[in-house]
Symmetry: C2
Subunit: 358 residues, 2 copies
DNA sequence: AGTTGATCTTAATACGTATTAATAAACTCG
DNA sequence: CGAGTTTATTAATACGTATTAAGATCAACT
């Protein structure tokens, strides 16, 4: 009896030898191409038997080289996903992606990078590792647009989690509807009688920020309020948000409510807690506060800020679905999808303080 | 002037043509092998220039095919769901595996499709899908030994997270040292004056259970206490643990302390909380309680049970390291490694109640 | 000039698969 | 029974890279 070839993983050649046929025949049987049904039933059985005995699995790299798929979906993040600490903004996306990926019969490939968050690159080492997967879900705030553009150019199938636009090429994404969510928040505040609503935005002009600003303006317009540009302030580092700052804005500009864009880390909520601790400003008595997104981690002892919450798991699911649609040619790129955020009442907004300045 | 070859992505051949050298030279320059410095500086520059102009990036598939390694580490779990939920018992293992995998230049392949399929077998469809990866880390309590044996037979490189033994073949694993941890726990209790220590074990004879039992006996022996077999009780379903049961064991067998093997779900801690809620037995006043492992989720409102804790993240790291060692031929299989557990004092043990039975 | 080295470049090959074109075998039919 | 037809199999090739052994060019030295 011929011993199984004991070196490394079995290949089609090994199967062929064992079944007494050619490699080509093995390929026909296994990958079932168009000519596949021409092969005799007896040989088919022989090949399958030999393959099973050897524990054969097709080599991913070889198939990819040949231009074939492997039912592998990649996930790449521009920031680390797996949090050792509990501050995991990106984690729920991964859960959603995994869930759908598994349900649709794909396996999930996590592209984690050795390099620190700063110089994280898809093309590290002059290679695009992502291509070993059939397609990829990308996420992260600090996206390198040049690399996104490069991916589009080499038309690698991918879906971005979050809205991203490129000057030249178009890409597919699944985003949270920040515009509507922010607008609704403004409407809610207006309903409470607020007319001077401060909006603290991130300093960079990324899409999530731009969308929130658009929503802010839209909400004001809907409420019949004029936009005062001095009520839109950029915050480079949320940690710099102090009671003094806030008092300044309240006193000088007459703000009665503030909308803040949270960061993925704990800086913002820490700063807010610090302000609340001074007892110089009470939320919502002196000033209503609403977060335009999720604070990084919900921990039980954390204040229940009024906010809206991204459907992160559902976004992950949708991204995986969309990507698989693209891969299986049910849809042409690019596709865009926005999912609604949910309103979390919380306890940090309330009626506007009576107009008279003390 | 020669136009850039307008078909798909540029390859080394394209670069070669443009720079007027051979593909081999291009490869030497780009991938900088051992012979790389023999290439003349002028040609090197020419090649690099051409590469830059064409926007060349190496093809991963080709590289990996050539390198005979996919640089993929798999993770497979015998549990019904993939531990992608943060609160899952197995999640920290995944974190550790991911971390080391990335650090050593591999990517992580989650076999979620295999896990979620109806016939959840490694060999679903007659093929061993795990072979996609270069090697695999396996997890889970309810192991299918036949499949493990099959993997060993095909000598597929894998490492099990947790001690597992097979009748015939040997396999590599990274385990928690349950024997020492349990023994130490017994020693601690003995130090508190306990002489009748009840051990509630899982009903199945899996290695983790066997190890704990061995540790229990070893600890008693070290403390100079005899083993009373009637103090070793199997618990099919932890939910069946009631105040009545416990009172029975305390009253009838004179137990003053109890060691319990936790399950991965919340059944045990729920049952214990229920008992505590009846106020018929107070821990540790009436009876000391220690868990032989981690309760599934640490939530802040949960009682701080005395227990030992597995170094799950570190185990994950070690498993990945071991597997990569095996893959890169630095080590022969099988390898075994046990990591020490850490003692968590908690508040559920105390001095033995005075001997007199009320 | 002829031999030996040193330096640089390239032809050839293997990695494992999928596919096309070609071949061999068996079968049909006039 | 040979020509044509169908059916089953395989030889040959391409995918893009890395590497080894061999070739070419030129300098140096007997």
């Amino acid at each position: 009896m011929s011993l199984p070839p004991r070196k490394g993983r079995p290949t089609q050649v090994d199967i062929a030898r064992r079944a007494g046929v050619s490699q080509a025949t093995v390929s026909l049987v296994i990958s079932g191409g168009a000519v596949s049904d021409q092969v005799a039933e007896s040989t088919r059985q022989a090949v399958l038997a030999a393959a099973a005995e050897l524990g054969y699995t097709a080599n991913v790299a070889a198939r990819r080289l040949r231009g074939k798929r492997n039912h592998l979906l990649g996930v790449y993040t521009f920031e680390p996903v797996f949090p050792v600490d509990q501050r995991d903004f990106y984690y729920p996306f991964l859960v959603g992606v995994e869930e759908t990926t598994a349900a649709l019969g794909y396996d999930l490939l996590l592209f984690s990078s050795v390099t620190s968050a700063a110089d994280r690159s898809i093309y590290a080492g002059g290679v695009n590792r992502l291509r070993i997967a059939d397609g990829c879900v990308l996420l992260g705030r600090n996206v390198r647009r040049d690399e996104l553009a490069a991916l589009v150019r080499e038309d690698f199938p991918f879906v971005f989690l979050g809205r991203r636009e490129l000057p030249d090429g178009e890409l597919s994404y699944v985003a949270a509807d920040y515009v509507t969510a922010t607008s609704d928040m403004v409407t809610t505040l207006a309903g409470y009688g607020h007319e001077r609503i401060l909006y603290l935005r991130a300093i960079e002009d990324t899409e999530p920020t731009l969308d929130r600003e658009a929503g802010y303006r839209q909400g004001l317009a809907a409420a019949g309020l004029a936009v005062d540009e001095s009520l839109i302030q950029a915050l480079a580092d949320p940690a710099e948000l102090t009671a003094e700052h806030l008092e300044h804005w309240i006193g000088r500009y007459g703000a009665t409510a503030v909308l803040i864009e949270p960061t993925e880390d704990t800086r913002l909520t820490t700063a807010l807690d610090a302000i609340a601790a001074t007892a110089r400003i009470r939320f919502p008595h002196d000033c209503s506060v609403a977060l335009l997104g999720d604070p990084p981690t919900w921990s039980p002892d954390q204040r229940d800020w009024t906010r809206f919450s991204l459907p992160r798991i559902e976004m992950g699911r949708e991204a995986a679905r969309m990507l698989i649609d693209l891969l299986e040619d049910r849809q042409d790129a690019p596709r865009h999808r926005s999912l609604p955020c949910s309103f979390v009442p919380g306890d940090s907004i309330g009626p506007a303080p009576s107009a008279g300045p003390s």
